[in-house]
Symmetry: C2
Subunit: 215 residues, 2 copies
DNA sequence: CGGTTAACCGGAACCAGGTTCCGTTTCGCT
DNA sequence: AGCGAAACGGAACCTGGTTCCGGTTAACCG
């Protein structure tokens, strides 16, 4: 008797409401692209040519609105995981980590927000299942330490995506060097050559960009 | 003829002003301990038994106030760096990274804010100098790959401190395992045993804590 | 000491942005 | 056409950072 959530209306929307919902989503995507998470609900309403009240009936909070905008990204990450299962070789895991990170780097959303969004949990579980398979394969093929567990890979992805976020504007490829380093380890031994480091002249800008100030 | 900044008054403060400055700093430290970066200036003023206007004359913005509170942490990190120079062995670098991370874990400030604070730049340079020495020694002693550069260590510290921040409440030691992993690498080979992973029952909470929602 | 004044004080007012409220309008149905 | 539920819009509200300004006071001078 009452519509519960924006992501799963329990009854048909009235024609005008449906039209406005589309407009709101379109406007939100637009504003989000421009401002990232700093987008203002007022601005979204303006783009959608709608009152703020209308936005808020559909999305009770700014956070819900963000969830809706972000929703497709979960699905796309899952698809990367599934694609990396296709070849049964041992490097699917590494391929997945690289692809997923590159994909993440391409859009501007902090991974904490991406995976904290409502509805992310179920997708996360599916990705986890895929990763367990990838991990097993990598161990079988001898490309991964036996004592590494799923958790470690998750933590690794957290650190790498945080790095991506901090350096997107100033050194958008630095995460690749760091990932290579983590895969091989910092100790001397049988290693592959690393990608180039950031040129010294650029480094100060990289540092400045990562260090933020409040508000 | 005009006092420029709170961190370096160019003339003596009037007695009442000096007293209030102390109170404000004390209050700010207190409130910051309780609320982290969400502390409100109004609350600081209340603790200091002072009007907001008084706080704002001393610290033109909330950010400046935070800088003042955070200032001692820079110095302490530098001291860790200097202490790790004392022994001329090859493991000073690793010791420094571990100590500095542990120190960082002990207080609640995101490292981006810590190092973005005004006045951090000079300390950073001193720490960098120390790290260059530590890196050289580690390479000479054969405990560090030859192709690793200063930048890599900085990036490593960024990722590890971000991890610390994300897991402080739920898995405050997980960064140690991850650091061990990064030092040795994820590939099979001559490795040392890792610290335990997070127990499965706890893991969901760790994940939930890291994934934040907007506002 | 009283007078003078620049420095200082407090808190009301302002502003921005998220959220709520409610009188008005519109859709969908009979 | 008439009716009620659903939807609309935007003014009003709230929180928290920041600014403003009339009143107060420390410090110094005659």
């Amino acid at each position: 008797m009452r519509v519960e959530r924006a992501d799963g209306p329990s009854h048909e929307l009235r024609q005008d409401a449906a039209r406005n919902l589309e407009r709101i989503l379109a406007g939100a995507r637009q504003v989000f692209d421009e401002c990232g998470t700093d987008f203002s609900v007022e601005e979204v309403a303006k783009r959608a040519e709608v009152g703020v009240g209308t936005v808020y009936r559909r999305f009770p909070t700014k956070c819900d609105l963000l969830d809706a905008v972000v929703f497709p990204l979960h699905q796309q990450t899952l698809e990367i995981a599934q694609r990396s299962l296709e070849s049964p070789s041992g490097d699917g895991l590494e391929w997945f980590v690289r692809q997923a990170t590159a994909f993440h780097a391409a859009h501007g959303l902090p991974s904490r927000l991406l995976w904290g969004a409502a509805g992310a949990a179920t997708v996360r579980k599916e990705i986890a299942a895929a990763m367990e398979v990838l991990i097993k394969r990598a161990k079988d093929f001898g490309t991964l330490r036996e004592d590494v567990v799923y958790q470690d890979l998750v933590v690794l992805s957290w650190t790498i995506t945080d790095l991506v976020e901090a350096t997107r504007r100033t050194a958008p490829r630095i995460w690749e060097r760091h990932l290579d380093l983590v895969l091989d380890g910092l100790r001397p031994g049988p290693i592959r050559p690393l990608p180039a480091a950031v040129p010294a002249v650029k480094w100060d800008r990289v540092v400045a960009e990562r260090h933020e100030r409040i508000r």
